[in-house]
């Protein structure tokens, strides 16, 4: 399904530790290895605090990893500096979660959308009006919106503007951090339709962060599940409901409320909440909440192993099976 020559970005052994006030270390991302392919969507799923945003922020230089490298077109982008960094920035853009706080409230939409273009000298000031209209129409908004302020628009419209700003530079990668979770369900659907249409037209690679596995499986080509800073399962988005095997991924799936579910059955729960990333237990990070926890899970941390092409899982339930065969 994924062709190595379409590889756009590769994260190798990325680790990020934050020092805390009392001298301990918080590991937000632990040895993360992920690949992003041309024109495909990578969905990153997990509960709050699992490190999914921390990882995606490396791609847009809002943070740098403590260890590891992120290869983009043969170069480690975490080491870039000066002019080279500035030039690479135009290839990777971001859409934030809350569209009401990701704009300067004093700028009109035309200036907001054209700011990245002006910054890289792609257009002249006289061309701004035409370009802003063109971009607004691309995200299905009327061109007259160019004269509005962000507060004159609804949340869904603002998120469309954020997407217009992100695609203005025609980047290769767009990172979307929970880009639909502040929106109504009906608006969410239209935004997903917009994103997938733009992806088809412009062949953009998307990194999408979400906490809802039900949402992400509807449009991601590749889904990675994170728990306490570790990638615990990577699988194709298609047929995800049948394919995913890690107990935590199954729990995330069971927690999705669906209008077509069986209402007579009580919803399945995993107990408790994720422990603090400051005291990650020895062994499998999911051990305390796992319904199938075994002795080995308390001693040894499971490694990611390949179940089938494009499907990897980190769980002792499956490591054992591999040894037998």
């Amino acid at each position: 399904m994924f062709d190595e020559k379409d590889l756009v970005l590769e994260a190798k052994h990325v680790t990020r530790r934050f020092p805390t006030n009392d001298g301990r270390l918080l590991t937000a991302c632990n040895d993360v290895n992920l690949k992003m392919y041309k024109g495909k969507t990578l969905g990153l799923v997990g509960e709050s605090g699992c490190g999914k945003s921390t990882f995606m922020r490396f791609l847009v230089w809002l943070d740098t990893p403590t260890e590891g490298e992120i290869i983009f077109h043969g170069k480690d982008i975490t080491k870039l500096k000066g002019k080279e960094l500035w030039e690479t920035r135009q290839h990777i853009q971001m859409v934030f979660q809350d569209p009401s706080t990701s704009f300067n409230p004093k700028m009109i939409i035309r200036d907001i959308i054209c700011e990245p273009l002006m910054n890289f000298g792609r257009i002249k000031a006289s061309e701004k009006d035409a370009k802003a209209r063109e971009l607004l129409e691309l995200v299905d908004l009327p061109g007259e919106f160019a004269d509005r302020y962000p507060h004159n628009m609804s949340g869904g419209q603002r998120q469309r503007v954020a997407i217009a700003r992100a695609i203005a530079l025609e980047p290769e990668i767009i990172v979307m951090d929970e880009a639909t979770s502040a929106l109504d369900v009906s608006v969410q659907k239209t935004i997903i339709e917009l994103i997938t249409r733009l992806q088809r037209e412009k062949n953009i690679t998307i990194g999408f962060i979400a906490h809802n596995l039900g949402l992400i499986q509807s449009f991601a080509h590749q889904v990675a599940v994170m728990y306490l800073g570790n990638i615990i399962e990577v699988m194709p988005g298609e047929g995800l409901a049948e394919k995913c095997v890690h107990p935590y991924s199954r729990a995330l799936l069971d927690a999705v409320f669906d209008t077509k579910m069986d209402f007579s059955k009580p919803i399945e729960l995993i107990k408790g909440e994720a422990p603090s990333p400051l005291d990650v237990p020895v062994g499998c990070p999911f051990q305390d909440r796992c319904p199938q926890c075994m002795d080995i899970c308390r001693r040894e941390k499971p490694k990611l192993i390949s179940l089938e092409p494009d499907h990897e899982v980190a769980c002792h339930l499956f490591t054992k099976g591999e040894k037998q065969t």
């Binding site: 969507t41 509960e47 709050s48 949340g155 109504d184 369900v185 009906s186 608006v187 969410q188 659907k189 997903i192 339709e193 997938t196 992806q199 088809r200 906490h211 809802n212 596995l213 039900g214 949402l215 499986q217 509807s218 449009f219 991601a220 080509h221 988005g237 298609e238 047929g239 409901a241 049948e242 729990a251 995330l252 799936l253 069971d254 927690a255 999705v256 409320f257 669906d258 209008t259 077509k260 579910m261 209402f263 009580p266 919803i267 399945e268 729960l269 995993i270 408790g272 909440e273």
Partner: protein, 262 residues
Amino acid sequence: MALLEIKNVDISYGKRVTVKNVSLDLNAGEICSIVGESGSGKTTVIRAVLGLIAGGGKVTAGDIIYEGRSLLKLSQAEWRDLRGHDISMIFQDSGAMMNQTRLIGNSYVEYIRTHENISKKEAWDKGVAMLQRMRLPDCDRIMNSYPFQLSGGQRQRVGIAMGMTYQPRLLLADEPTSALDVTTQAQIVRQFMDLRDEYGTSIIIVTHDLGVASYMGDKIVVMRNGEIVDQGDRDHMLNHSQNDYTNMLLDAVPSLGGRRYV
């Protein structure tokens, strides 16, 4: 007789009528979900039941009847007895409704002592017992914490514990799970269902998530632009509704193994 009857209610801010002709009946032990997009007036309706419409809004027509008496004519003293005792409300972020500079325990004790003439020690123990019933771990530590020290799910459980202290006949929940992770959301939803089964509490839940609304609600009310556009029991709404707007909302819920966009 229905526990709560909302009869042809209009709610206005100044001269602008924002909620028009809303009628709703709720029986004891029944759960009603109100769904709609933001700005459809769903929160305003349940705030009106508790007499807490924000920003100077007023009920200008119709009547709200709880156990046979009109809620619109209550005096302040009667409201104080009713609120938090017979009718409770749970907000989207229970941490934000508490005083940020006071320990949760102190807020809780004060709340209990407005409704009951007991000592601070007894009130504290009652609070701890309630938190335990919500399956919160380490309840003494939680009572000694500030709201910002707890996770979103824990805060929400504290809010539900507070709301349930006097086993109200009617619980109003305003987007109680929208700010939470899916796993925590499932736990909280389950807890709401248990409350109904154990105490026979009637619940009105306001949400924009059709999945949660249909899992919880015996009946579902769809609101749009301040009016009820469609209502009925769950089976009717999910499978047989003729209303285009209802079906559009249903279609927008991402469904497992459902439509894929790529």
